[in-house]
């Protein structure tokens, strides 16, 4: 949130005084073709060496420099998000990040029609992430990348690596061929439940590859329009989860909504509850008010936190989405729309801040509780 905070920010090159330990739910380690190539089986490795990655993505210009913060590029050269030491210095250490959930990049593989190649690439991303990131910093946790366009292969990948203690969720892009409540995806949810992993929807790949157009009205020209359309796609997934009865079929499934904004959820919850009163008879398996399913099963991460014209509106919308139970902080480091742990959100009341910056994520991901003595 853009704020008019009175206090002048500390010089950015000074070490932060941040004491509150935080859990950052969305950090992007690079996981592009160059990084994962060694982890591909020979057949695909030879093909990508000869022809390139062969998956969609990049239909629009991104923001920032190559989609990243301009100062996240290692000074010695190299790509943003590729250097653990820089990530530690610039983000993890500086802001007292107790745990960081890695969400990867290159979800284009989830929009290709070649299911077997998608599955091999997802396995390569997961193996690379485990070896190159998770084993090198005990604060980091991983997300299982899956070929979600072929749910049986996706379930196989979840069974392959999802039982590891350092893998804490399953991740998919927002762009999809069918809304995620559709029973087509049930094998994925069965596997999530088997391994007690949340199913996390991260924006991206709307309208690319085999995925449906980025808006119900068709394709848009500019990246900024795509960004504005993302909440409607995510809203469709959320309504689909609730009204197709996924949470009745899978009572322990948790879903995380990532990077499509936060505050628009409030009027959607009101709308779903309102429509349900008159239309419940058509979906009688939906036993509770839709907003109750949201509260119980769905979590949402902060970045990019919506800018509201005044604080009172911000606070009342947070109340409306039960932020004390459902909202989890994330930065999106090192992407260009990074939300600083110290300055993106306005100052929250202590109890709420503890929930948003730590407790909600610790409970969801089974991470150790906050060390209270570290605060101050």
């Amino acid at each position: 949130m853009q704020t008019s905070q009175a206090e002048t920010p500390a010089p950015a090159d000074k070490k932060s005084k941040a004491k509150r330990p935080i859990i950052d739910c969305d950090i992007h380690q690079i996981s592009g073709l160059e990084e994962i190539k060694p982890y591909l089986p020979r057949h695909y490795r030879e093909l990508v060496e000869a022809y390139g990655p062969a998956y969609p993505g990049g239909m629009h210009f991104n923001g920032g420099v190559g989609g990243r913060m301009a100062d996240a590029y290692p000074e010695e050269g190299g790509r943003a998000g590729s250097d653990l030491a820089l990530m530690q210095r610039q983000h993890l250490d500086r802001y007292n990040v107790a745990y960081g959930i890695l969400t990867g990049e290159g979800y284009g593989i989830q929009a290709t029609i070649n299911y077997d190649y998608a599955a091999a690439t997802c396995s390569a991303i997961n193996d690379y992430t485990i070896e190159h990131w998770l084993s090198r910093d005990s604060r980091l946790r991983g997300s299982v990348m899956i070929p979600k366009q072929e749910p049986r292969l996706a379930a196989k990948e979840i069974d392959r690596v999802g039982g590891r203690a350092d893998m804490v969720q399953v991740i998919v892009c927002n762009g999809a061929t069918l809304p995620y409540g559709n029973r087509y995806y049930d094998p994925i949810y069965e596997a999530c439940v088997r391994h007690n992993l949340p199913f996390t929807i991260h924006v991206g790949l709307e309208g690319e590859g085999i995925n449906s157009p980025p808006t119900g009205a068709g394709y848009v020209t500019n990246y900024i329009e795509t960004r504005c359309a993302r909440p409607s796609t995510m809203a469709a997934h959320l309504a689909s989860f609730i009204f197709e009865g996924v949470f009745e079929r899978f009572p322990t499934l948790r879903v995380v909504l990532q990077e499509a904004g936060v505050l628009w959820l409030a009027p959607l919850l009101w709308k779903m509850d309102q429509e349900w009163k008159g239309l419940r008879v058509q979906t009688p398996w939906v036993r509770k008010r839709p907003s109750e399913y949201f509260r119980e099963h769905v979590r949402v991460t902060t970045q990019p936190i919506d800018e509201t014209p005044n604080r009172a509106i911000f606070d009342s919308l947070l109340d409306s989405i039960h932020a004390d139970e459902t909202l989890m902080y994330c930065s999106d480091y090192p992407h260009w729309d990074y939300d600083s742990p110290k300055q993106a959100l306005p100052k929250l009341a202590d109890g709420l801040a503890d929930r948003v910056y730590y407790d909600n994520a610790a409970e969801l991901y089974g991470l150790p509780p906050r060390e209270k003595e570290a605060e101050g």
Binding site: Q2, T8, P9, P11, G63, G64, A70, Y338
Partner: protein
């Protein structure tokens, strides 16, 4: 590496400015750098009284900006220096005031180096955010660029 990236990654440690407070002067003046260290089109980040400050040379005139973005605190002066992009309609891009605009390295908000004000398309954003960057007076004395705090 592109020219842009090279420019962006030029982030050597800031040098400390030397205090030079002439008698009878109300503002404090600090040597930021030798004039020859900041040729036209370049900038240098210095530290003055605990503040990190970017000193820019735009066609021979010096300007100093606080190296903190008022949005979320990024090191603003590490951002790309470029032009203001204006347009008469879709597909038309024109570049004005070349070298006078710095784009924040994080969210790419644009600031006018000469005034410290945010460059915006509409009044709404200006009103909501009331963004300015702390700006300091600058003079040149005996080959030194001086910052007035």
């Amino acid at each position: 590496m592109s020219a842009t990236e090279r420019r962006l990654s030029d982030s050597r440690r800031p040098d400390s400015a030397e205090s030079m407070r002439p008698a009878g002067s109300s503002d404090k003046r600090f040597r930021a750098a030798r004039v020859s260290e900041i040729p036209p089109g370049s900038r240098k980040i210095v530290e003055v009284e605990g503040r990190s400050i970017g000193v820019y040379n735009i066609q021979g005139a010096f300007h100093a900006l606080r190296n903190v973005c008022p949005h979320q605190g990024a090191e603003l002066c590490k951002g790309l220096v470029t032009a203001a992009v204006v347009s008469s309609g879709p597909g038309d891009f024109r570049f004005e005031r070349e070298g006078e605009i710095v784009r924040c390295p994080w969210h790419q908000w644009e600031f006018d180096i000469k005034t410290g004000c945010m460059v915006v398309d509409g009044k709404v954003r200006t009103k909501s955010y009331e963004v300015t960057v702390e700006k300091f007076g600058v003079s040149v004395e005996e080959d030194y660029v001086m910052i007035h705090l």
